[in-house]
Symmetry: C2
């Protein structure tokens, strides 16, 4: 018996039935086999050591794949547990999942109290165990046997987890001396783990329930080599310096207020300026691309969100209702239902399509107060939103144009590294997490893949992460220090047209539903400005900087001439701030540097006499004495994006 | 005994105690006396025929005063009641107040059914009774006697009204054969009423309560001469043609949707365009005037609105709360509390003042669904908002600059007629409707008056219409057809600085609270665009028109050349729309005229051959054939405001 394996590039090959992904990799290339961490078989991630017994589409997963990394970190959590168990007595284990960067394990340390010095000890033990190249061995087990194992071990946490599992679906994984209740998958052996850093200790309630016991959570991150770990730690250090919350306060970008509420940023004038500039850019680009601007209120009746599916599928992320004249009103979590209503109110035939409705609309989403984080996780978010209503024939060119707009923005903001993540539905969740339209899912997912492939944009495909109304493309971008941000999404929507009865007359004067593209290339103001603060380390390029030039008179005596300088620079269109305080020039320079104003002009005796200004560039130092004219010429190029 | 009377111009004169306003007028000028309808004595409006027994500030009220008109219409309601009582048997009377334009009376017609032809009959009778010049005679009456009178008459409505009145405060007014329970004031006699139009019949529940009897409401309007009535009716007719709701639909400006909710406009692309243009204008003007732009969320915790005073003083106009994490959140009804929080987060000494924070912020107010009206009364409103935080010394120049901005906008939009209405507090309502700061009220009201007087802006002073935190200036503007709109308000706020603890360090490094000016010269988008639709009759000036030029090919054959015309015009910065439908040119022109697109260019054989376009101006007709270059030059001046 043989099985036919289809690879991501479409190539097909026959193998003996029961072959493992690792064996396939070995046949292909020995060096590849050394890198294989797991495998995706027909969209499902599993151990690379499991036999494949039917024809299948197979993707070998390495460190370069998100799922490969995630499996690596999951296995590292088990390795950490093994190390802890071998070092301390009486430890009980809760859960140990991979996270965005690394993994954690929640443990009950009993009488032992762990400190930071323990982390070093555990790291050392982990490396020692990793070196043994112990296999991660999978073993299906009956519920009864599993219960008996953890009863003997005395781990009430695992016993509680077992209660929620169904007999027949339970597996154990063992590496070295350590056995865990786990559905996997795992990497082939511990030897892949070459560099380890345990980051911190924290408290975490068992099952997130404040009323239950607080366990000790140990966060860690691991890598297949020391170099990557070193780079990662360096990046973290740099990221801390560039923390958008710190810079946001220092540069007076935004603030929070207790009486307004958590997760609801108030944009100070410097932040307001950035927003205006970003909107100017978006409006210009969107106008050129044929978008029409609309405005919609921030609330609507419950009926709208029942129609849109937000109430059945998304209610937990929405604010609670207000009851008015016996009707429930909700804050909008997305702008789409409102835009659909506008489309519905416009006369349209196929000749009017595509119709592209754009709005920088502020939406409200409920985030748990514990997960709020600066501008990155907020409750009010201003989306660079637009919805494109088009025919099936227009879809490819519209979708391509949207991607081109992303790339244009990336260039403007110096975003060199990015990746698209194509999120698809999961057939088993149709009717629950996803609209129950199996054929339309396949059809639109194929259309999206075709455009992505033909545009040559790098992308990953992932199952079970689509929006409830259609497939989604998440755009991951990397800041100047290499940190990854999920910035924006493109969503393809085949469902809402019908639900909102958004018909147009086609060429044969028959009614049809448009395809809808949801897109937000500049993300939300909150997330994008948060990203830019880190990306630029607060040193906004001249065209974007709220204040471009600080005019610094050496003493009061030079204020009159300084004011003529301010006036002349303003007339040339620069954003200028004068520091008239009775402070020493050194202090004025330090303060302007602290505010990261791109240029400073220092004005004293010599400058006034020579009708010049002494120019200093932020973070660089003196440029020399110039006339205002020459200075303006110098800045010309930087003044536009 | 004599009394000293102070007139509005500050002049003072002695009269015998007990003199009436009418007698004073007679002494001043016989022709003035004929016009006096009522009088304001120390800020209180009363009959011109009542004796004045103490020194007082006196303003004689004529038809030119809002309160004079209102008294005239109130007396007209009594006249209508008299006419009805003389024509029909068994009529019972509810209430008959003046309204913005005219008056109504709610009556129980018993077995009689009134029709439109009855209105003519009543009008005729009213004129006949008016001619008799019957005096409106005031008579204080005991509650017992009043009850006995209406018991005899058999009017249960008046009896119910009497229940709510206190003995000693009750008055009757009688003219001719008709006596009414009424606190007045009234005009001297019916002879002033020279022109009468009863407008319509409607149903109205007694006391606005759906569970009670539906009465017949008769609306009417009266004037002191026929000419003004004719003009008013003509204006109404013109206003109907210019009805912003009709034009709003025809020009695709906005729409409402049942599933979104009443009073929540959705701005279609043409409306979205107008909004963008207005914001562009406002942002430019505000930037030049030194405003800083901020952004704030649309919700806040209850705590914020308790601090601001909105919950105690304004709650009935707010949306109901949402309860989140056990905290009540409210939609903002005004932007001020949010802006105050931003001011609080900014570092400031007297050198930083004035700080001017601007935001086109969308607010939400609860309006009874019955009082919603197109864009004029809505539940979501986008305010051209800003708050100026300044010192007392800066107040006059800041307030003057705000007024200058109003006048600049009036010029841009061709608003030739406007009036300011200076609304003051009412001392007896301190602590209820108004913050309890008697001295600050007087002080700020004086400052406002000084600026208004020294700026030479025409204004009326009215008591008991201030905002709860300070005096208010309502700006009344008149559309091209003379209809009055209350467009915007300026508010002076001496209270919030303290409530929000908004301190700044003054020259002596002492902490002080700023004065805050609330201003919104472009009103809300909703109200201003509603006004502009009527003002321009939908014919927006070229700079503001969503589409400026419609390119109309005579047939498909000329589409290619038409497209080069479109391209050339777009390159010159015009907003162009091409009509490529397979319709006759006549139909295309009619549709472009219907959409009130300022210019049409018709493209046929001749135009293509001569490399020209035939230009047609909306509402005017053909201009002739021109090159694109010449056409662009022709439009140059109109293209900017």
């Amino acid at each position: 018996m043989s099985v036919k394996i289809t690879f991501p590039d479409g190539a097909q090959k026959e193998f003996n039935s029961g072959i493992t992904a690792l064996e396939i990799a070995n046949q292909l290339s020995n060096s590849l086999a050394k890198k294989v961490l797991a495998v995706e078989v027909n969209g499902e991630v599993m151990d690379a050591t499991l036999p494949i017994e039917k024809d299948a589409t197979v993707k070998l997963l390495t460190w370069n794949d998100t799922e490969g990394k995630s499996t690596f970190w999951h296995s590292s959590a088990h390795l950490m547990a093994e190390a802890i168990e071998s070092l301390y007595k009486g430890i009980k284990f809760g859960i140990g999942p991979p996270i965005e960067h690394g993994f954690y394990y929640d443990i009950d340390t009993g009488d032992t109290t762990l400190t930071l010095s323990d982390l070093e000890k555990i790291e050392k033990k982990m490396l020692e165990l990793a070196n043994k190249k112990n296999e991660y061995k999978r073993k299906p087990i009956s519920k009864e046997e599993a219960i008996s194992y953890f009863k003997d071990k005395g781990d009430e946490y695992k016993l509680e987890l077992l209660e929620g599992l169904e007999d027949g679906s339970i597996t154990f994984y063992t590496q070295g001396e350590f056995t865990d209740l786990c559905r996997g998958p795992h990497i082939p052996h511990t030897g892949h783990i070459k560099a380890i850093k345990l980051m911190k200790l924290a408290g975490a309630y068992w099952r997130g329930d404040e009323k239950r016991k607080q366990l000790t959570r140990i966060y860690g991150v691991t890598f297949p080599n020391q170099l990557e770990l070193d780079e990662y730690l360096k990046m973290l250090e740099e990221a801390e310096k560039r923390d958008h919350r710190k810079l946001g306060q220092q540069l007076e970008i935004y603030t929070f207020d207790d009486e307004v509420g958590p997760g609801l940023p108030l944009w100070l004038p410097n932040g307001g300026f950035l927003i205006e500039k970003l909107e100017e850019l978006a409006k210009k680009e969107e106008e050129e691309a044929g978008y029409l601007r609309v405005r919609t209120p921030h609330i609507a009746k419950e009926a709208l969100y029942i129609r849109s599916g937000h109430i059945p599928y998304y209610k937990e992320s929405m604010f609670p209702p207000m009851e008015l004249d016996n009707v429930k009103y909700y804050l909008k979590a997305m702008n789409c239902p409102h835009h659909h209503k506008i489309f519905a109110a416009m006369p349209k035939s196929y000749k009017d399509l595509p119709i592209r409705l754009a709005e920088y609309g502020m939406c409200y989403r409920y985030e748990d107060s514990g997960s709020l984080f600066g501008l990155m996780r907020v409750r009010s978010l201003t989306i660079n939103d637009a919805h494109i209503y088009c025919t099936k024939e227009q879809f490819a060119s519209e979708f391509r144009a949207v991607n081109a707009m992303y790339l244009k923005y990336f260039k403007i903001f110096g975003i060199d590294k990015f990746k698209m993540r194509f999120s698809k539905h999961e057939p088993s969740k149709l009717g629950q997490k996803y609209m129950n339209e199996p054929e339309l899912w396949i059809e639109t997912e194929n259309m999206v893949r075709d455009v992505l492939v033909s545009s040559g944009i790098p992308f990953d495909e992932v199952a079970d992460e689509a929006a409830f109304y259609g497939p989604k493309i998440d755009i991951q971008i990397y800041s100047a220090i290499g940190r990854e941000f999920t910035l924006a999404t493109n969503q393809v929507d085949f469902a809402q047209g019908k639900r909102f009865n958004l018909k147009y007359a086609n060429k044969d004067n028959q009614e049809e539903y448009p395809i809808i593209i949801h897109r937000a290339p500049l993300s939300t103001h909150e997330r994008f400005i948060g990203f830019l603060l880190e990306h630029y380390a607060g040193n906004f390029p001249l065209w974007l900087a709220p204040k471009q030039i600080a005019v610094l008179p050496i003493s009061d005596k030079f204020i009159p001439y300084s004011e003529t300088v301010v006036k002349a620079l303003k007339e040339k269109g620069f954003r200028v701030k004068i520091d008239e305080r009775a402070e020493k020039i050194g202090k004025k320079i330090r303060d302007a540097e602290m505010m990261k104003i791109p240029y400073m002009t220092i004005i004293g005796e010599k400058e006034e006499q020579n009708k010049q200004i002494s120019v200093r560039k932020h973070g660089k130092g003196d440029i020399g004495a110039l006339t205002i004219e020459d200075f303006a010429v110098l800045l010309q190029e930087e003044s536009v994006y």
